[in-house]
Amino acid sequence: MDFLSNYDLLGAFWTTVQLTFWSAIGALVWGIVLAGMRVSPVWLMRAFATAYVNIVRNTPLTLIVVASSLGLYQALGVSLTTDKTTAALAITNFRLAVLAFVLYTGTFVAEAVRSGINTVPVGQAEAARALGLGFFQTLTLIVLPQALRSVVAPLASVLIALTKNTTVASAIGVAEAAVLMKTMLENEGQAGTLVFAVFAIGFVILTLPVGLLLGWLSKKVAVKR
């Protein structure tokens, strides 16, 4: 077990946590915007959001992550940072990975939110319209607050999936848990099963509390009908 202390396990998992955190916030916002567009009265927005969700959801995440680095950064020169020090590259890679996760995970958030919107009784929106509220007000003041409460559980699954998906950032050299696991499997082959166990436990520790917490939250905030 001694060799474990030769590696920065906590550092790698901390990167995983940071990737998850920023991607989750971004994906939540982007997903709600997409869902809003999909139910909006403007045809073009509906068409865009539908096409976007259907295309991105059917593309492998690995391809999106690789494309963010090879396409966006290398070909288009988008570095997402003004940093000029030697740390710039690491910052760029981290942010590109977050961007890829947001673009991808946003589609799943959008689908969850849209199904949540469908659970809000028709009367709610009708009452809002009767009061003279417009589409944007109806959506943000009446429908979304109720819809979001009913989709905590599906969103929790999305968050857990996102946590695990951050390992794909290894493809563009972000130093997170999967990169360290690969390095350790190569260097410490004889203890490979132990290495795997360590990383498996790490992910159970990361995802289990999230599942339990959000499961409890979803029961607590559920709209009683």
Binding site: V66, S69, L70, Y73, Q74, A75, G77, T86, A87, A88, L89, A90, N93, S170, A171, I172, G173, V179, K182, T183, E186
Partner: protein, 280 residues
């Protein structure tokens, strides 16, 4: 009840699939006690591990395999009495080369395989058939990078876990930012696009990329390490070692060695002198 025949059929398919894949996976046991030289002659078969994605050395193309390593393999095969059509090329990624040999998946590894003591504990080498050195690949119009010392503040690209990157990092790491990718092709596009300033690995590998992107990329030409490439095979097979050393020398002497280098790296490539055989 309606679907139960479907279910049963599904289960049958699953079992079959398991069985088939399990059988397909077993590699055929070869008689490992006899020397490769005898075995190759007797079976008229040779399996060689090469790189599949390195222009100039080992590249899988629409018309088969090309590169210097491939030409060396074909020459060796001819000397062993194996027809060119009976050579099987397998992909030998850097991290798996020792295992491929140890498990008998390949007879020979000719895949930019640097001879060193750590590897010699697991496999035997013949050669070297080429001595490379770690160098830098930059854009053709780049004048600011002249060697490893001028990398400060530049972006260097390498493959995750590669030793050449680690060497550079320990010597010059403080001022260079390192980009890791899964393969060199990502590094090359970055270099062409200007997102990456330099790529570091063995000069002959870089030469292959330079030749594949004629006029756009150049090798700096100041190697700062020595990497003797050998042919790897099962540890302890001395008969094969002697034979291979002999064939390598023959290739160097009859001109095919130089011709193969010029064919793969262009006629303006400066062919170095033949390296002396060290693995005897």
């Amino acid at each position: 009840m309606r679907l139960s025949p479907v279910l049963r059929a599904g289960a049958l398919v699953a079992t079959l699939a398991l069985a088939v894949t399990a059988c397909g996976g077993k590699s055929q046991q070869v008689n490992s006690s006899s020397s490769l030289v005898d075995r190759a002659k007797a079976d008229n078969k040779l399996t060689v591990g090469i790189k599949f994605d390195q222009p100039g050395l080992g590249l899988k193309t629409a018309n088969g395999y090309t590169g210097f390593d491939v030409d060396v393999a074909k020459y060796i095969a001819k000397k062993l009495g194996v027809d060119e059509n009976n050579i099987t090329f397998k992909q030998a990624p850097s991290a798996q080369r020792e295992d491929l040999i140890a498990q008998g998946d390949v007879d020979l590894v000719i895949a930019t395989y640097t001879i060193n003591d750590k590897r010699k504990q697991k496999v035997s080498f013949a050669g070297p058939y080429f001595v490379a050195g770690q160098d830098l690949l930059v854009k053709a119009d780049n004048t600011s990078i002249t060697g490893p010392d001028s990398l400060n503040g530049k972006k260097l690209c390498s493959v995750t876990g590669s030793t050449s990157a680690q060497t550079l990092q320990t010597k010059y790491a403080n001022q260079v930012s390192l980009q890791n990718y899964g393969g060199y092709s990502e590094c090359i596009t970055g270099l062409l696009n200007g997102a990456i300033d330099a790529i570091s690995t063995d000069d002959i590998i870089l030469q292959g990329y330079a030749a594949a992107n004629q006029g756009k990329l150049k090798v700096v030409g100041k190697p700062f390490t020595t990497e003797p490439y050998g042919i790897g095979f099962k540890k302890g097979d001395t008969k094969t070692q002697q034979a291979l050393d002999e064939y390598i020398q023959a290739m160097e002497q009859d001109g095919s060695w130089k011709a193969a280098l010029q064919k793969n790296f262009g006629s303006d490539y400066k062919v170095p002198s033949e390296p002396p055989i060290t693995e005897k």
